[in-house]
Structures are given as structure tokens and as C-alpha cells.
Amino acid sequence: MNLRRIGTSLIAPAIGLFISLAVTAVILVAIGASVSTVFASMWTYGTSPRAMSLMLNLATIYFLSALAVSIGFKMNLFNIGVNGQYVLGALAAGVVASNLTLPKFASVTITILAAMIVGALWAGIAAWLKVARGVSEVISTIMLNFIAIGIISYLIVRTSIGTETSLNIRGTKPIPESGMLRGIAFIDPGTPIYGFFFISIIIGIGYWFLLNRTRFGFDLRATGKSASAARTSGVQSNRMIYVTMLLSGAVAGLVGLPYLLGDTGTYSLQFPTDWGFTGIAIALLGRNNPIGIALGAILWAFLDISSGQLILEGVPREISTIMQGLIVIVVVISYEIVRRYQVKSEQTSVAKALAKQEASV
């Protein structure tokens, strides 16, 4: 039974991958590129040590983002606001870390806490709007994303929080080396794997434990499956919304940190601002399961990184974005088809069993 469940949950992503590869091939043929050369180039470069290191680093970021989204998903809360939560979290982290002169462990711990608190507070606004005022979190978090970007550009451009970090680019003061978490280079000597890679594994295990082995996790999943049933059995749904959104926001606050503490050391106006949407897509691919999310994050990062040298073949690297979009849409559709098939086969097997029983009576 369990094997069968794993089998059916793998069918959908496999179909998605296959169809998206097929459509990509068609597009490549249409623009006059050689399909085999392109795929071979992606594979060769993508599996080189340097690319693998970059891939794991990027996957770390995506993993955290998708985890944040999926905490909400588990309770049918759409936290579209991971973008806003993580940029504010990363900005706060950049400000805090650059003003600390403590030993590495203390400095990084405080930085992490600052990012989590800011992310949680920003998500908390959406939670309050939902609980107290009945505003859908889908729309409030979208608005909060725009507001967060505005706040950041104000703080960096017009206040002393921002300084000129490199030519014509303003950002937070550089973080001292004692506050950075650069990581260890164990695959490619020139490219360290972010320290956050390991932290995010711990967070992933914590996520699994919280959801599957605690009372809170049970309440959360129960509320997601049927809010009314959960309420009847004594779950306080308003409290659940607060806790879930705050947790989701706290994890979201971490999304920018692998890059901030492992690479740039400053939150500048060039810091990426759309990892939250990537997280939504990967949470969908991974079906809110930490291992699934990890695999999804690695696949996503592989496509991002391995397409980096396609321009040598005369193909825009954006082909990987098309593949990602196709994978998501085909996978969600095939999950639905597989689910319908399962429901149907269950119904027929139950009907058969009942018919047998009746016949024997």
C-alpha cells in the first residue's frame, strides 16, 4: 500500500518532466537549435562540480522558500507574501549583522532571530487582517509585497541604513567577516556550500517533526482538511491562523539569508526579490512534503544553473524558465488526474467487495 502510494505520487512529476522536456524539444526545433546538443550541454555543465555546488546553494534558498509556503498550504492558507517577508527579513538581517561585533555563533544566531522576527511580524499583519477583519490572505499578502518593496527602497535610498556599497549601488553596510556564514567547499574547491545548507536540513526535519509528530501539527493538518470538523473538535481556528502565518513568515524571513550571509554580505537594491514565487511553485511540486520539496528545489536549481552556458549554443537561458513553468502546470494537472483515478479505483474496489458480500449472503 505504502509502496503504491509512493509510486502514484512519483508518476505525476515523471509525466510533468517528460511532457515539459518534449515541449521544450519542440520549441528548440522551432528556433532551429539542436535538441541533443542543448540537453547534452545542460547535463555536462550541470553535473560539473562547480555547477553542482551552485545548484545546492540555490536549492537551499528555494527549499526554505517552499517550506514557508507549504506551512500555510497545509492549512489552506496561501501565503503569497513570502516575497515581502523575506526581503524585509533579509534587510533586517543585513542591518543587524553589520552592526554586530560578536563571535560568529552569537552574531549569526542574533541575525537569524532578527530575520525570523521581522518575517513573522510582516506575515502577522496578513494574519490579523484575516482573523480580525476577514480579509483574504491571498490579496493582503500581495499588497504587503508591494508595500515591503516600497519600504525597502525608501530605507536604502533615503536613510542612513543605505550606503554606497559598490559603484552606484546602494545597500546596507557590509557585514563583518565574523557575522558571515560562508560555508565549506567540499564539492568544488572554489565554491563553498552555504552554511545555511545544513541549517535548512535541520529546519526541514523540524518541519516534518512539527507537522507529523506534535499535537499542533495534527490540529494544523486537521484544520486544513476540514476547518469546520476541526472547530467542532475543539481547535481554535483563529489561533491556528495566527500561529501558522507567524511560523510561515518566520521561515520566510530566512529565505534571503543563505545568499546574504554566504555571498553578498549586504542587502542592496540588486538583491533578488522574487524567490517567494519560486517557493510557491516548488511547494506545489513537492506536495508540501519536505523530501518532495527538497527534490523539487534541486530540480529547479538544476534547471536554473545548468542553463547558464546555453548561450554558447545560441539558445537563451530562459528556456529553463519555460521548462519550469511547463513542469509546474503539467505536474499539478497530472496530480489531479492521478487523484481522480485513485478515487475511482477505490470506489470500484469497494463496490466489488460489497457486491461479493451481498452475493454470499
Binding site: P316, I322, I329
Partner: protein, 404 residues
């Protein structure tokens, strides 16, 4: 009924102009109600309004359309690609068709396969973004005047109309600075100054939507698919067909909005939508899933955007702050009269904070205006969400005979 409605509309317009006029008189900033400001606000508002209208069509049929942004992106691309080669009207057509393809994709995923609608929409946004960036590089890099991230200039122009005999006298009346009269003149003149045919089409689409969706049997059936599709089905409404039609038309409208953007900036450019699809969604909710309110929301966004971008002396944003304070005080007053004490205190407090800000700072950074529309939307949602009424089965996947 229509008499009541038009009375309400005139009342609302009267109140809005009065508040603008008070602000303009106190600040002495003629830009706030000038002909040029209003004309430009219409240009900024129209694409957002079209996105909002697109949202109305999809959601009235029960399909949440988070993919509006992606469909708009497809529209901007279609307009740039066809407009550069075959002229501006071909661009409009291609924008609409590209948007429709996005809509069709959403319909297939959400209606036929019953995939969660927010998920399907998110996937479409991703796909549209990747596809257009990719195609831009393939198709525009070597085109004359194009680049990796932008198309060559779109050929030709959409006709615009200026009625000099209205604009000129009213503009000079506006410059006299008479309370209310001058502001009314400036705003009215703005409606006839460089008015794009596409803006007129946008307006007509709003009128058509209010009529079709609320005054015809077709509209009743379409809305019933968004309120209670199972009941509608039992009465013989072909729910799936209506949902398909609504979502594809939604894509067409979003695509038209995208085309409008590209045509207004004469080229397709990566990222030209800048989240306007999401903003359109916000205006739709702001407007309670109805055309009138949605248009008002879009005008607010367009107006604030305009003032921010033409802010030469850094005074427009300051004017907006005062305007915001006056509006908050007015709403606070209404709340007091309706004996909603807590809300009233909230509004009056916020209004006082803004008045304080107005008098304590000599100018405000443009970022304030940048976030103002979003904060306003949140405020509206926070105070009015109990009165807003989305379609009852909005976002609920429908399968014939599958009602639980």
C-alpha cells in the same frame, strides 16, 4: 433604480471633487486637478482597469484568476511582436489573442481538470514570464531597433482625440483657481485631452460588462456558475461552457490591458507590467466584484501614479497626504454618525497622524506615493470586507454531479 444609481454616482463624484478642491485650495497646487494630470491618470488607469475587468469576468463565473499578471505579460508581448511588424492595430489584436491563450490554459487546468485555481494561475504567471523573456531574445535581439529585452518600436499610433473647444476654455478656467469650479473644469477638460481610442474602448467594455452580466439572461447564467454551479446545472445551464467563455474572455481583456501598456510606451519591454495584473485584482476586490467600483479603484491607482511621476517640486505627494487625511476624516465622520465608534476612532486617529505629517514635513519622498495605493487597498479591505460579497462559489472547483 437607475435613478437612484445615477444619483449615487453624482453624489460620489461631487464629494470626490469637493475633497480634491479643498486639498488644492489649501496646498495651492494646481497640478492636483489639472487637465494634463487627469488625462495622464486615464492612461495609467486604463490597463489596470482592464485587468480588474478581466478579474470580474473570471471570478463572476467562479474562477479565481491570479494568472492575470501572466496574461497581461502575454498581451504586452503580443502587442510588441505584432505591432512592430504589422502596425498598432495588429498589435492590439495579437495582445488580445495572446491573452486569450493564457485564459484558455487557465480554463483547461482549472475548469476541465479542477486544479486549484490559485495554483494554476501561479503556474501561468511563471510560464508567461519565461516564455516572453525567451521569445524576446529569440525574436527581438537582431531586429532593427530591438534588443534582448525589448521589441522594436510599434508602428503607427492609436488615434487620440482632443476637443479644443472644450479643453481650451476649461483649462483657462482651471488656471483661475476658483474653489470647486476650476477643479471641475480641469477634471472635465482632462477627459477630452489626448483621449486615446483605446481608453474609449476600455470605457465601452465596462459599460458592456455591466449590461451583459447584470441585465441579460446570459449574464445571469454566467453569474450563477459563480454563485452555485450545481444549482445552475440542475436548471440546465451549461456551467462548464460558461466558465470557459468567461475565463477566455478574461484572458482577452487582460491581454488588451497588456497591449495598452506596450502601445503607451511604444515598445514591448520585459517587466513592463510591473505587477499591474495583481493591482487589477486588487481593484476588483476594492470594487466588490463590480465594474463601477473596479473602475474607481483603477482611477485611484492611475491618479496617484500620475501625481508621483509628474512631481516636479516634490509637492504632489504632500498634497496626496492632505487629501488622504481629509478622506479619512470624512469617513471617520460617517462612521461616527453610524455609531461605529471603534472604526471612527481608527479613521480619525489615522487622519490626525497624516495631518501631523503634512504640517511637519516640507516634502515627502516619492516612495510614499509608491506604496499609498496598496495601503489604501488594504485599508478599504480592512474596513469594508464585511460588506464585500465575492461570488459564493469563487475558487471552488466544479465537477458536474460532484456536489458535496
Amino acid at each position: 433604480m437607475t435613478y437612484l444609481k445615477s444619483r449615487r454616482f453624482i453624489g460620489a463624484a461631487f464629494t470626490a471633487i469637493t475633497m480634491l478642491s479643498i486639498t488644492r485650495t489649501i496646498t495651492g497646487n494646481g497640478d492636483l486637478t489639472s487637465t494634463v494630470t487627469i488625462a495622464q491618470a486615464l492612461v495609467f488607469a486604463s490597463p489596470i482597469a482592464l485587468a480588474g475587468l478581466a478579474g470580474i469576468w473570471a471570478e463572476r463565473a467562479g474562477v479565481i484568476n491570479i494568472g492575470l499578471e501572466g496574461m497581461m505579460i502575454l498581451g504586452t508581448f503580443g502587442a510588441g511582436w505584432a505591432g512592430w511588424q504589422w502596425g498598432v492595430w495588429a498589435g492590439v489584436l495579437a495582445g488580445v489573442i495572446f491573452g486569450a491563450i493564457g485564459g484558455l490554459l487557465l480554463a483547461v487546468a482549472a475548469v476541465t481538470f479542477g486544479v486549484d485555481q490559485i495554483i494554476a494561475g501561479t503556474a501561468i504567471n511563471l510560464l508567461a514570464l519565461g516564455l516572453t523573456k525567451f521569445l524576446a531574445i529569440v525574436l527581438f535581439t537582431n531586429a532593427p531597433g530591438g534588443g534582448q529585452a525589448q521589441s522594436p518600436p510599434i508602428k503607427g499610433e492609436i488615434p487620440t482625440f482632443t476637443i479644443e473647444s472644450i479643453v481650451e476654455p476649461l483649462t483657462s478656467l482651471h488656471e483661475k483657481g476658483i474653489f470647486f469650479i476650476s477643479d471641475l473644469a480641469g477634471i472635465f477638460a482632462g477627459l477630452f485631452y489626448h483621449l486615446s481610442l483605446l481608453t474609449i474602448i476600455t470605457f465601452l467594455l465596462f459599460v458592456m460588462t455591466s449590461y451583459l452580466l447584470w441585465k441579460t439572461a446570459f449574464g445571469l447564467r454566467l453569474r450563477s456558475a459563480g454563485e452555485n454551479p450545481w444549482a445552475a446545472d440542475s436548471l440546465g445551464v451549461k456551467v462548464v461552457q460558461f466558465k470557459y467563455a468567461a475565463v477566455v474572455f478574461s484572458g482577452m481583456l487582460a491581454g488588451l490591458g497588456g497591449a495598452y501598456l506596450s502601445i503607451a510606451s511604444t515598445i514591448y519591454r520585459n517587466g513592463n507590467t510591473a505587477g499591474r495584473g495583481f493591482i487589477g485584482l486588487a481593484t476588483m476586490i476594492f470594487g466588490d466584484w463590480r465594474p463601477g467600483g473596479t473602475a474607481a479603484g483603477a482611477l485611484m491607482f492611475g491618479y496617484i501614479d500620475t501625481l508621483r511621476l509628474i512631481d516636479t517640486g516634490n509637492q504632489n505627494v504632500k498634497g496626496l497626504i492632505l487629501l488622504g487625511a481629509i478622506i479619512l476624516f470624512a469617513i471617520g465622520g460617517i462612521m461616527l454618525r453610524r455609531a461605529r465608534r471603534n472604526s471612527a476612532i481608527g479613521f480619525l486617529l489615522l487622519g490626525s497622524v497624516m495631518i501631523g505629517a503634512y504640517f511637519s514635513a516640507s516634502s515627502f519622498p516619492p516612495e510614499v506615493a509608491q506604496v499609498a495605493p496598496y495601503i489604501t487597498t488594504l485599508l478599504v479591505l480592512a474596513t469594508a470586507s464585511q460588506n464585500l460579497r465575492p461570488p459564493a462559489a469563487d475558487g471552488v472547483p466544479y465537477r458536474k454531479g460532484d456536489h458535496h
